[in-house]
Point group: C2
Chain length 196, copies 2
Amino acid sequence: MSRSGRRPGATETRDAILQAARQEFNNRGYDAASIRGIASHAEIDPALVYHYFANKQALFVAALEFPADPGIELPRILGGDPQQLGERLVRTILTIWDREQISPVIALLRSAVANEQFAAMLRQFIATAILEPVLGSLTVDQPRLRGSLVASQLVGLAMARYVLRIPPLVDVPTEQLVSLVAPTIQRYLTGELTLS
Amino acid sequence: MSRSGRRPGATETRDAILQAARQEFNNRGYDAASIRGIASHAEIDPALVYHYFANKQALFVAALEFPADPGIELPRILGGDPQQLGERLVRTILTIWDREQISPVIALLRSAVANEQFAAMLRQFIATAILEPVLGSLTVDQPRLRGSLVASQLVGLAMARYVLRIPPLVDVPTEQLVSLVAPTIQRYLTGELTLS
DNA sequence: CGTTTAATTCAACAGCCGTTGAACATCGGA
DNA sequence: TCCGATGTTCAACGGCTGTTGAATTAAACG
């Protein structure tokens, strides 16, 4: 019964920890996810986590590591008719969210609610990775206001579909949801804003 | 130096606890808000909270106690031109949220993110207090799908303006925000849904 | 006035948390 | 083969949490 000490054979522990961390952060958020819980999911002692990562926050950042490379997706969104920019944007984002049951954005969203520091991270990500490139490609008035309206609908979609799980929305097929929400995004992006 | 024991004079402790609880639940959410923190805000010993409320969850429910009576607001929303239903709905909700810096809905929203039980409470509140009456007053196809789309935009608005505090949105005057978002809500409520 | 009831605090419980240091076992290179 | 680096566990730390029971003081009621 050798308990402690290194295990024979190759080691894949670091990845196991990251995987468990992604899962836990994704569906509990930063605060509610615990090192002990993550370690237990990875079938490992909690202290081992600290052998690979400096502390909880470093683990969170490592687990976030965005899988969708904006450099690849963005040109596909920005190219083409600006009048269908909203549709391409919504389709791309929903596809990414739906592809993996575990999404860094959802993890960050869940964490941002109780933690101002992560709220700032999420604001920054939304602004620089989505809004600035998309709106920079257009010539419209009030780009920042338009961007924040787009953000509100996208965040609402993520909350309703993945966090609150409001029933009809959870089951609507991706492409149908695209055609329902895209007009809203398109209006926020290029429509006339009535500032009564 | 009498420490323990009852204080002379009338007692308003229960209200002080509720007020502190509302504040803490509102801007931290259920899990992050602590009984000790609430008690300290109310300048009171933590154990005193348990003299008035059975436990943390009971305190949360008591602190929630909805201030906007749906029975009063709803007829004002439902009466009038159905083509401006979206505008009246958004205006009413934003007015309620803006009026008090402390809103039960925001508290519930913050709490629902990490706690499935509160997510269910929020779903139920959105459905029965907002969506059902509003959509019940219309004759449209796909009412549940329409309702969930409305919910997604409203939740997104609450998240962006009050939780994430996305800069432009925080400072846009209420009435201007109404005129920006109302067309979206109106389209979800009565517009043609293109189910491609 | 005496007694019961209500308000209040103190001290403690058990449980969880992030984190650390020491001990042990295996691997990889000299 | 020896030895340092790496992987792994155990046990503990201090701090925070929700909650409870006993003790103390004042109000309310007869």
